[in-house]
């Protein structure tokens, strides 16, 4: 089967344009099965748009995207919906359903499947809540009653509800305290290892980049540069240099003083 190829996502010649503003121009990117790919880039460089394009929320101006061996552009609604159950997404601002409780938010994707017995849905929701490190009493709360970091965790729990093959995370650790963030990293890592998950993670958190990312994609000049941390540190591009050799990178122990 085509899906068995090493690359779980292949992007070729992607162009994204909003009016005059060109965000991506001939962007190529391969994401390997089972890796954790960190995506970095300046604010407004189009990371979120790239993610939205991959998951089919944003129609690209040009270019081909293959996810799990299927060309998303050519899929009909039914096939796209089936494909969508195979990935989980954590949006930058959580995007929780405001009229549902935390428990119901996490259960929503399981309920939609229709064949999982209700008691099991309840139990799994409880499990997911604990897996992402939320207090149990949060389950009955509504999103408007949660802190920013808790919303992130609920978003992750919902993204993991159906144990997807690919996990897209838009700044998962932003807004978490450092201990919580490190925990989150470990959680993602262990899930990824046991489930063979592929994780695409937009992040500004240099610690996450160091600890859990196998490779890093840097969005510069409307394209991406991909490589391991060591490779990118040797890249001569000025933005990449200042990113991986800046004071914060030094603080995170990436670059030597």
């Amino acid at each position: 089967m085509a899906e068995r190829s090493a690359n779980i996502i292949e992007i070729r010649g992607l162009v994204n344009r909003f009016g005059e503003q060109v965000l991506h121009d001939g962007l190529d990117l391969d994401i390997r099965r089972g890796e954790v790919l960190g995506v970095v880039g300046g604010s407004g460089s189009g990371k979120s748009v790239l993610l939205r394009t991959i998951i089919g929320l944003n129609r690209s101006t040009a270019g081909d995207i293959r996810v799990l061996g299927q060309l998303t552009r050519e899929l009909d609604d039914e096939a796209l919906r089936r494909l969508q159950t195979r990935w989980g997404v954590l949006f930058q601002n959580g995007a929780l359903f405001s009229s549902l409780t935390v428990a119901e938010n996490i259960q929503a994707p399981m309920r939609e499947r229709g064949d999982i017995p209700p008691e099991l849905v309840d139990e799994l929701a409880g499990l997911k809540v604990k897996l992402v490190g939320l207090p149990i009493d949060a389950m009955a709360k509504y999103p408007s009653q949660l802190s920013g970091g808790m919303k992130k965790r609920v978003g992750l729990a919902r993204a993991l509800a159906l144990d997807p093959e690919i996990l897209f995370l838009d700044e998962p650790t932003a807004g978490l305290d450092p201990i919580g963030a490190a925990d989150f990293d470990q959680l993602i890592r262990s899930l990824q290892q046991s489930l063979g998950l592929t994780v695409v993670m937009i992040t500004h958190d240099l610690d996450s980049l160091v600890t859990i990312c196998d490779r890093i994609a840097v969005l510069v000049d409307k394209k991406v540069k991909v490589g391991t941390l060591e490779e990118l540190m040797r890249d001569p591009h000025p933005w990449v240099q200042s990113y991986f050799h800046g004071p914060r990178a030094r603080a995170a122990g990436i670059a030597a003083d």
């Binding site: 405001s98 428990a103 064949d115 099991l120 139990e123 799994l124 809540v129 897996l131 144990d163 262990s190």
Partner: protein, 374 residues
């Protein structure tokens, strides 16, 4: 994925009974696995859960395996031979602790129902009080702005005049026209029996000017603009924009409520005037069709029977209704809490309460006018 569906069974080995599980223990097969696990004998003699043949596992599967081995429910059976790549996940799930399930709402009893009624009554009372308090705040804010007119939001006022007034002209006009037609038709039909069809003009004139014009306009505006006010302010409330205004030292009453109320005070009388015209026009068309008279004769007769008082009786209600509709709309909008659902609920409420108050006040006006014998 093309894995074997998961299975679990009780087997006999040399050193005793063993639970064996294999295949894919994933959410895909969760329903079936759940059934298999549940049908295992509760008090089995199994000493160990053998996982040699597991070839895929996810959190749902691990959870079900934990359940199969009685984890977290006293009698626990150790696991063995789980492939090393699945170990971290299993550990995560097992150390997550005993099972918790969200509380399910319990069945409702008659006492709940009675309590609901009581709570409902209490809420209506509290709501009325709050609305009165809100009106008080509004008056104070108006006073502050009159003392310092530069604080008034002129642009916002113009935008709302356009949205609530100019854009509402077609629908208000059409409805009034049709109601005029219906009134004339019904009136002429009945009055003909007394050979008094010419009195249709009196009937149309009085009912349109005194009641129909203003009432129809107010109801349309409550449905159209009162709801819009609630939805606009409610959505801002959900995205914390109203809080942001407050932290900037801006008073939502001045920034959001005052321009909207003022806009309706200006547009509702104009819309009412327009509705009066269209109602009389519709009545005239029907009259000249049914009764053997021309439209010109209708106008002449109308001129004889209607008085300025009739017009003003309808017209004085307009600003009062405008304040009621706009205040209720803004009030409910500001009461929205956190969720999208709440916006919908409050919008419905604003329309219902707006129309209800309009009709109550219309009745009060009737009483007042009869006392004054106008």
């Amino acid at each position: 994925m093309t894995n074997q569906p998961g299975w679990i069974k009780l087997a006999q080995e040399r050193d005793g009974a063993v639970l064996q599980a294999g295949g894919a223990w994933t959410v895909e097969y969760a329903a079936d696995l759940d059934r298999q696990v549940e049908s295992l004998p509760k008090e089995s003699a199994a000493q160990v859960l053998d996982l040699t043949e597991i070839d895929a596992i996810d959190t749902a599967g691990a959870w079900l395996l934990a359940r199969a081995s009685g984890q977290g429910e006293g009698q626990e059976i150790p696991w063995r031979n789980l492939a090393p790549e699945f170990q971290p996940l299993a550990e995560r799930v097992l150390t997550a602790g005993p099972k918790v399930t969200p509380e399910r709402p319990r069945a409702r009893t008659i006492t709940d129902w009675v309590a609901d009624v009581g709570a409902g009554v209490e809420e209506v009372l509290a709501e009325s009080l709050n609305l009165v308090a809100f009106f008080g705040e509004f008056v104070l804010a108006t006073g502050r702005v009159i003392a310092n007119p530069r604080r008034f939001r002129w642009v916002s006022l113009l935008v709302h005049i356009e949205q609530t007034g100019i854009n509402a002209l077609p629908i208000v006009g059409l409805i009034s026209f049709l109601v005029g037609v219906v009134l004339a038709y019904q009136g002429a039909d009945q009055l003909r029996q007394f050979n008094a069809q010419f009195l249709t003009v009196n009937m149309v004139g009085i009912s349109v000017l005194r009641e129909m014009g203003i009432l129809l306009t107010a109801i349309v505006v409550a449905g159209r603009s009162g709801s819009a006010f609630t939805a606009q302010i409610g959505t801002m409330q959900v995205s914390e924009e109203v809080d942001a205004l407050r932290t900037m030292g801006l008073d939502p009453m001045e920034v959001l409520v005052l321009p909207r109320v003022t806009a309706l005070i200006i547009t509702l009388p104009i819309l009412t005037f327009f509705a009066d015209l269209m109602g009389l026009f519709g009545g005239g068309i029907m009259y000249s069709v049914l009764v053997d008279q021309t439209f010109g004769q209708y106008v002449t007769r109308l001129n004889d029977v209607i008085t300025p008082t009739m017009f003003w009786v309808g017209m004085v209600k307009a600003p009062v209704f405008a304040i009621l509709i706009a205040l209720v709309g803004c009030f409910e909008g500001l009461r929205v809490t956190g969720s999208a659902e709440s916006v919908g609920k409050m919008t419905t409420r604003a329309v219902v309460e707006g129309i209800f108050l309009v009709i109550i006040f219309d009745a009060l006006f009737s009483v007042l006018f009869s006392i004054l014998s106008i």
